[in-house]
């Protein structure tokens, strides 16, 4: 039995080390299902989440560009961040929905308190379009760091309204981003022709 147990523990260790737990989401999004079997790439993903209350959330997967991204977008809106806040953004950056002015306050909280905060979404209207700034900054940093543009994943709630989704897509089209990945749940494929 010993060799088997050895192997079992080896595998346990391997899977434990390789598993990356899904980062905590700031918003609950119930994605619709589709028959597409393409899996989301593991790295270089920018997630745009749209919940049913028309709120827009943004998230960066790569830890390498998070601090630089925060400084870039912060500088654009005249918001500066302390080193501790930049450090905290490593956890928050995976999914957040706060206007940049309120971001320092959110970063000052500890992770337990942060869960209780109701984030009101990133502004994306024509007067104050912070959303597209995040996308453009993250995209150019991704190009610089990994020499490849990031994948844009749109994670919409099944009950999210079409105008918000269309607005998000249009904004990105204006910045010449035309390839989108819509995150869905897997559904078994029906046989066509039945």
């Amino acid at each position: 039995m010993t060799p088997m147990v050895d192997l079992a523990f080896l595998l346990v260790t391997f899977f434990m080390l390789t598993t990356k737990f899904a980062p905590e989401e700031a918003v609950v999004v119930d994605t619709p299902s589709s028959t597409s079997e393409i899996r989301l790439p593991e790295s270089h993903v920018l997630t745009v989440a749209i919940d049913k209350d028309k709120r827009i959330f943004f998230g960066v997967g790569d830890d390498e560009i998070k601090s630089e991204l925060l400084r870039t977008v912060g500088a654009k809106y005249g918001v500066s961040f302390t080193a501790a806040q930049v450090q905290a953004f490593r956890g928050v950056g995976a999914s957040f929905g706060t206007p940049i002015e309120k971001l320092p306050a959110l970063l000052n909280l500890d992770s337990e308190q942060r869960k209780l905060v109701k984030q009101d979404g990133i502004p994306a209207d024509s007067l104050n379009n912070q959303f597209i700034e995040w996308v453009v900054a993250a995209q150019s940093l991704s190009r610089k760091q990994f020499s490849t543009p990031a994948y844009i994943a749109i994670k919409g709630d099944g009950q999210a309204d079409v105008p918000t989704v269309k607005k998000v897509i249009k904004l990105m089209q204006e910045k010449n981003i035309n390839r989108f990945n819509l995150i869905t749940d897997l559904e078994t494929k029906p046989v066509a022709g039945n």
Partner: protein, 173 residues
């Protein structure tokens, strides 16, 4: 503790011998059980945590109006996504002088999929998907999924026009 005291009282030799007889092997079964449980857990979570995606490529924004491509009415099939999970469709294009006949359909296997498959004979068919402002994101994903299921190559997400909204209203469906 009580036992040790007893042994020391009765004579050191006998107690020591009994202790030496104890097997050095321990029962590994619970540990192995746990190991395999963890193994199964990590194996399953790694494969299932990645969500699936549906790839959508939008056309590059034309620089001016002249670059926009026109489609023939005979090759057009318009699908309107309405509120309350309703689907409307019509053949051809809507213009001021021609009013195509609007029909109601649904998202189930016998609904819009049948209509799409029935039109597969036309290789130049372009499906125009127009989601109404009152439809939800699930409807949009569902109709894009139908395009994948029916293997429809040419389709486009288009903004709904006022004429289309009027057509839905006047049809009373």
């Amino acid at each position: 503790m009580a036992e040790i005291q007893q042994n020391s009282g009765g004579g050191g030799k006998g107690g020591k011998k009994r202790a030496k007889k104890m097997s050095t092997k321990i029962d590994m079964t619970p540990m192995v059980d746990l190991a395999f449980l963890l193994l199964t857990f990590f194996m399953l979570t790694t494969t299932f945590s990645k969500p699936t995606v549906m790839q959508v490529t939008m056309p590059v924004k034309p620089k001016d109006e002249t670059e926009k491509s026109e489609i023939k009415a005979s090759n057009a099939f318009t699908v309107l996504l309405g509120e309350n999970n309703k689907i409307y469709y019509y053949d051809g294009l809507l213009s001021t002088d021609t009013k195509p006949e609007l029909k109601l359909s649904g998202y189930d296997a016998n609904g819009i999929r049948k209509e799409l498959l029935a039109r597969k004979s036309n290789p130049n068919l372009v499906v125009l998907i127009k989601p109404d402002d009152k439809s939800n994101y699930k409807n949009m994903v569902d109709i894009l999924d139908e395009m994948n299921i029916t293997d429809q190559k040419k389709y486009a997400l288009v903004d709904i026009s006022n004429a289309d909204v009027e057509l839905i209203k006047s049809s009373g469906l």
